[in-house]
């Protein structure tokens, strides 16, 4: 079975270092999966392309088609690589708006590789104090290594003790290890009669034990 990886980059410029990091991450994950003999595919999405759709979704409650297609791919992917620039000590507002508009259970059980970029390495903990709890709240499963790239990581001033590529490879290895041989999160369509209520349930079950939901 082909492993599907969704890549979401919240970088705003084009080209963006956030997208560069996302590309590096997926290349490393592909290499790890190839080494393990896994079929794989990936699609990369730039939130900039759907920024207006995200705002409209927040205002109207439904996702316009391009955003809905992206969200579908993300919800059905085996893993997510999520990369955001760090603005004012946290993930970008657009990144959070996207997650606010995403179905609450879209990432339930999905392994996530967290990545972030900023001007200096002083923001690197934002992955752990901002991004990680957000994904934990969504019941996603962020892998332990998050990859932070400062501007200097792309040039001569790069960290030579723990270079960017080494951190990328470590995260990619963890994600690939998590994906290979693991049970895929079971995603059921709440509107499909054959999977609804576990396939064999009855409304009588709801009368006895009604689900708690908003």
């Amino acid at each position: 079975m082909t492993t599907k990886i969704a890549i979401v980059s919240a970088g705003l410029s084009d080209p963006s270092s956030t997208r560069m990091l996302a590309d590096r991450l997926v290349q490393a994950v592909f290499a790890e999966l190839d080494a393990r003999g896994e079929e794989r595919e990936a699609r990369a999405f730039e939130l900039r392309d759907v920024a207006h759709d995200i705002t409209n979704n927040l205002l109207t409650g439904f996702a316009p088609k391009p955003l809905a297609e992206m969200n579908d791919y993300v919800a059905n992917a085996d893993a997510l690589i999520a990369v955001t620039p760090i603005f004012s000590t946290s993930y970008s507002g657009l990144f959070k708006s996207w997650l606010d508009a995403l179905d609450r259970d879209a990432l339930d059980g999905t392994p996530v590789l967290l990545g972030a970029t900023a001007g200096t390495a002083r923001h690197s903990l934002a992955i752990d104090y901002a991004m990680r709890p957000l994904f934990t709240y969504l019941h996603a499963e962020p892998i332990s290594t998050g990859v932070f790239a400062a501007s200097s990581d792309w040039g001569a001033e790069a960290d030579e003790v723990a270079p960017l590529q080494k951190r990328i490879d470590r995260a990619a290895g963890e994600l690939a290890g998590r994906l290979v041989g693991s049970a895929r999160p079971e995603k059921t369509d709440p509107y499909a009669p054959e999977t609804y209520l576990g396939g064999a349930g009855s409304f009588a079950d709801l009368l006895n034990d009604v689900p708690v939901r908003g």
Partner: protein, 402 residues
């Protein structure tokens, strides 16, 4: 004139009862004005040949309709033909006993020209205002409706649930007209359990079909139809489906676009969001000539299957009364007669007609006379078992009635 004898489908209006500033004049109508206007609108809908007028229930400004049965009973007294309904009645925060009583009263006063649609409410605080927890919204809808359903079908109810005080030997009065409960629709925007609920009871399912793309509602209705069959009420095609809709018309489509745009841009539900062009493409809102509305809505059955009720949202977004009445004329004179003709064509014979009290009475009694419950003399012991009505044996047998 048009053929209004076809019972297959009902067309009508659904009002949210918003009191919205007119963006062109800058004036906000008073609540008193809007309440007077809504009566005019409902009567005009009947005059224009529409079949249904439905109004919502809200408990916060800028909406005025907190008590739909009062409004609907007043309208019933001034109309002869139109069916009065809700969009929606809050099954979550209302006491199901009061719903049973109020809507049975309305059903009697309206001579059977009433039904209702269950909904869960539009604003979070309505739950705490009525002492409920929003996280229990779905459980409330399920338990409360279970009780309501029994109150209209059993003369004497014992009930012990999670959400309201227990009932022992309780009789909801008056009994429904002809002892046939009002037809119930369950409305939902996104919740599969509500489609399931409608299917389980063999009730109608109404998809709001206003805010979101129709593909979304297609899945909800698909689920409802299949589960309706699963519970043995008939084939999926025999399920009872209603749809919302939204249109603004002028003789020429460009005039419609120009006239509606300022209202669209300032409307609370979609203002400052997508452009009107994008929104009309993504959702069933149609702004254009009557022919465009006909084309769009005649095609709904291709998505949802043949259905029974089509309601349009027309009085909203600050549109002045005069414009709303014109829109109703377009609907009644230009659109609905054509839709009736078109939707009759190729409609499979097993697709049921739209629900009416008369049809439900016939289904229950055939040619026999409907039950007319008459209470026994009040002996102060209506809670000691048996039925308080003369046509039922008391718990102590006939002798005890003396």
């Amino acid at each position: 004139m048009t053929d209004t004898t076809w019972q297959g489908m009902q067309f009508g209006l659904m009002s949210v009862s918003d009191v919205t500033r007119n963006p062109i004049t800058g004036e906000t109508p008073s609540e008193a004005q809007r309440i007077r206007d809504i009566v005019t609108i409902a009567k005009h809908a009947e005059d224009a040949g529409l079949d249904v007028f439905a109004i919502g229930e809200h408990h916060n400004p800028p909406f005025f309709s907190s008590s739909p049965t009062t409004t609907l009973a007043y309208i019933a007294a001034q109309t002869e033909r139109i069916i009065l309904s809700t969009s929606t009645t809050l099954i979550t925060t209302n006491d199901p006993v009061r719903i049973a009583e109020e809507y049975a009263m309305l059903q009697h006063l309206a001579g059977g020209r009433s039904d209702l649609m269950m909904g869960r409410g539009n604003t979070g605080p309505v739950y705490p205002w009525f002492g409920k927890d929003i996280r229990q919204g779905l459980p409330l809808a399920i338990e409360n409706y279970q009780l309501l359903h029994r109150l209209w079908r059993e003369d004497v109810v014992d009930f012990d649930g999670k959400f309201r005080t227990a009932l022992n030997g309780f009789t909801s009065t008056p009994r429904p007209l002809d002892d046939v409960p009002p037809f119930v629709w369950h409305g939902s925007i996104r919740t599969p359990e509500i489609a399931e609920q409608a299917a389980y009871y063999g009730d109608g399912f109404f998809a709001n079909n206003i805010f979101w793309p129709k593909e979304h509602y297609q899945r909800l209705i698909g689920l409802y139809r299949q589960r309706f069959a699963h519970y043995g009420h008939g084939t999926p095609e025999e399920a009872i489906v209603g749809l919302g809709g939204q249109a603004f018309m002028a003789k020429s489509s460009q005039d419609a676009v120009d006239q509606f745009r300022p209202y669209f841009n300032a409307a609370p539900v979609y203002g400052n969001g997508p452009s009107m062009e994008d929104f009309t493409e993504m959702t069933p809102l149609t702004v254009g000539s009557p022919q465009q509305v006909i084309d769009r809505y005649a095609a709904m059955r291709d998505t949802f299957g043949d259905y029974q009720r089509q309601l349009f949202l027309m009085d909203h977004a600050g549109l002045p009364l005069k414009v709303v009445l014109e829109q109703i004329d377009f609907l009644g004179h230009d659109v609905v007669p054509v839709l009736r003709r078109e939707l009759q064509k190729n409609r499979p014979a097993n697709v049921p007609d739209a629900p009416t009290h008369a049809a439900l009475v016939t289904a229950k009694y055939g040619d026999a006379a409907p039950r007319q419950p008459r209470p026994n003399a009040n002996r102060g012991d209506n809670v000691t078992g048996g039925s308080p009505y003369q046509d039922s044996e008391s718990a102590f047998g006939k002798a005890a009635d003396k």
